[in-house]
């Protein structure tokens, strides 16, 4: 296992610059998640680390040593691809054994058998070992793909949205298993996803990537509680954060297009800015300081989303459990004052 460090990686494709100078490091034994929407450059980043694509600028170091001149085989990474890439002509056993049988490793066959069996046990695919991979179900294939990565001890695991092709239930189950495996083995993992829940639940640290630039690097708490800009704020959290144009006047904040105003926090705020309020920080209460009309309720069972109209603005509020409020009712609510987020007009967080 290794410490992996990227500095100023730039990658240009004809027509697009996929990575515009990104730097981050994955520490030894860390579960690092690269989170970003489609086209952000996540796969490209992984491919560059694995050595499948060459960067145009920048350096990659494993344990302090540059690997830029090394072939994929020499870098000794394990890659779980976005699409299944099991060898269709081989059995599950042979697929799992494939990395161990590489001529550069020269493991004895009984050692290979032992390791494959242990891996299959961990992923609960022992009963599939003799099957051809072509007719496995999606979940089974993905397990085998992951198995092919963990069967050896690479310097880093590179996982490219390994769970995105699965249905919700299976994804959840496999997510927990993966997390458990990673913690038990203490393996260095770089996990790519566009799913913020996966990122928040699994990561030790997250890097948010957008259009080839890193927006923020931090722990899940950092990312959620102190988003660096409006992009990150909107990317994590469901329902989405409420963002409103706001202005400051005589120590009061006014939300444009509604009567909502509140005392300004002790921040160095410009005259105009963007105010962000997480839905769970809007708490209905009978004697709340603010009022609005209930437009829609979305009961989810464990929690309910309320759409509260105030002037021209609609606020989404997340409350635990179900509600007996009716559409059209007037709702009174409070805002959790010390959890407000303020961003300047360029979207940057104001601290």
């Amino acid at each position: 296992m290794s410490h992996v460090e990227l500095s100023n990686i730039v990658k240009r494709f004809p027509g697009v610059t996929a990575l515009k100078g990104i730097s981050f490091d994955v520490r030894d034994g860390e579960f690092f998640v690269l989170l970003g929407p489609t086209g952000a450059g996540k796969t490209t980043t992984l491919r560059i680390i694995a050595g499948l694509t060459k960067q145009d600028e920048g350096t990659i170091r494993f344990d302090g040593e540059s690997v830029d001149a090394l072939t994929p085989a020499e870098r000794d990474t394990a890659f779980v691809f976005q699409q299944y890439s099991l060898y269709p002509t081989m059995t599950v056993f042979d697929n799992l054994a494939f990395p161990l049988r590489a001529p550069s490793r020269r493991l004895p066959e009984d050692e290979i058998r032992k390791r494959v069996e242990v891996t299959a046990e961990k992923l609960r695919i022992s009963h599939l070992l003799d099957r051809k991979t072509a007719h496995l179900s999606g979940g089974e294939m993905q397990r085998v793909s992951i198995g092919r990565a963990i069967v050896r001890e690479p310097r880093i695991f590179l996982m490219d949205e390994p769970l995105s092709n699965l249905d919700a239930k299976l994804r959840e189950a496999l997510r927990v298993e993966l997390q458990h495996l990673q913690k038990v083995e203490g393996s260095t993992t770089l996990f790519v996803t566009h799913d913020q829940i996966e990122a928040l639940t699994m990561a030790d640290r997250i890097a948010v990537l957008d259009l080839g630039r890193i927006r923020q690097i931090g722990t899940p708490e950092d990312i959620y509680d102190r988003p660096a800009d409006t992009f990150v704020a909107q990317l994590v959290g469901t329902p989405r954060i409420n963002l409103f144009p706001a202005r400051r006047e005589n120590n009061h904040l006014y939300i444009e297009g509604s009567e909502l105003h509140l005392p300004a926090p002790t921040l160095d705020l410009p005259e105009r800015f963007t105010l962000g309020i997480r839905p769970e920080d809007i708490t209905p209460s009978p004697d709340g300081a603010f009022a609005g009309t209930l437009q829609i309720t979305e009961p989810l069972g464990v929690e309910t989303i309320l759409h509260i109209r105030s002037g021209e603005r609609t606020l989404q509020s997340l409350i635990p459990g179900m509600t007996d409020l009716r559409i059209g009712d007037t709702v009174r609510f409070d805002l959790v004052q010390d959890r407000l987020h303020c961003f300047d007009l360029d979207g940057k967080r104001i601290n």
Partner: protein, 334 residues
Amino acid sequence: MATFYETGPGYPVTESIRVDRVSPTARRIHAVRAFVVLVFAIITLIPVFVMGITAFKSRADVVSVPPKIIFKPTLEGFVFLFTERAVVSKVRLPEFQKKAEAGELSLFERIALNTGQEITGPSDYVDRLKNSLIIAGISTILSVGLGLFAAYAFSRFPIGGKDDLLFFILSTRMLPPVVVTIPLFLMYRQLGLHDSHLGMILLYTVFNLSLSVWLLKGFIDEIPIEYEEAALVDGYTRFQAFYKIVLPQAVTGIAATTVFCLIFAWNEYAFALMLTSDDARTAPPSIATMLGRGGIEWSAIAAGSLGFLIPVVIVTFALRNYLLRGVTFGAIRR
């Protein structure tokens, strides 16, 4: 651990929604189609059939009018094809008959004797067939082998001027090959390649290469590159990945390409006629020259053509399982 996915729906299926009853019209259309295919197959196969029976006819049966469908089969044609013979003089005839009765003559010698001839040695045709096997075999292996590497490179690597190169390769097939026989003839004479195996192998390899590069590139393009990349990451070199991953998945394409190349090299007539005379002469022109020598030996010609068909039929038959998918191009499941 049984999950919902393994156990299926939790309620019994109680009603059938069969939609597989075939309508009468569909059945009639099917019958018409089958009939058309059958007629077509018969038309195509009649010449082959006639050739087949002619090969086993005696000299008299071959020329009889109307042609006989039922006749006494003989191997005369094959004896004429494979041997050189001389007429046995009246004086020596009894001697031969005695030998025949004593069972000292081989099957071929006995058949020759029936027509009043003795065998003096093997005919050229045996050598010609050998030449055909060597030239077609080696040139096919070369063009498929080289084509495979070229196609892989075209498919996987960023090559400068790739499209132009591919077009150039294809353009070698754009004019009828026979057009260049005269220049080739002159070149080959200068280079000492005239009537040599090497010359013919080179020629057929070059002609087949464009076909094999294009065909194989199509097949390799169909194999997702992720497989090789996975192998590269797993610790294999580029060549090992090619050998272990690409090759097994490309067998269909390789089989189809092999058959196409083999058929071309095996059947080629014009170049073989112009560029070979004896040492490297292949079977197709030599069958034709049999027409000339003292009366037309129809049964020998038919036997020669039949024997000539057999290797191609065997190879095609052996590879038929791959071919069926191969010639429907790109039918590889993703």
